[in-house]
Symmetry: C2
Subunit: 75 residues, 2 copies
């Protein structure tokens, strides 16, 4: 069973990696890029019958740092 987890920095948390991408795009001549946020996309192949609650626990305990990151599960 395929599960996708998106992990993004919460609003208001400084994203130096995204800012570096924004700046690089500007210097390469791509005008009009106002902001860039970079997050993680985790695709997992899990056993059939894995529950939402288990995937949520994986996110809370390992995949996301919930102090500064939010996550979204698609399964």
């Amino acid at each position: 069973m395929k599960v996708r987890v998106e992990v993004m920095l919460k609003d208001g948390v400084l994203d130096p990696q995204g800012e570096a991408v924004r700046h690089a795009l500007g210097t390469m001549g791509f005008a009009g890029v106002e902001s860039v946020r970079q997050g993680k996309l985790i695709e997992m192949d899990v056993a059939e019958g894995t529950t939402d609650a288990e995937v949520k626990a994986m996110c809370e305990r390992l995949l996301a740092n919930t102090v500064i990151e939010s996550y979204r599960i698609e399964m």
Copy 2:
């Protein structure tokens, strides 16, 4: 205008980061996680009127290393 770009390692390219996550989940007691692939999720706020071709060029020139990574654009 919001644009999302997903960048994943191509099939067959070794993903040590994903493998580390898979191993960590196993040692934490989450059974049945067969494989994990980790990619990047880039959310950009671009000027209205930015074309598909421009976003594609951003991906080809900066956001993805197309030798080993594939990308998908949502706009």
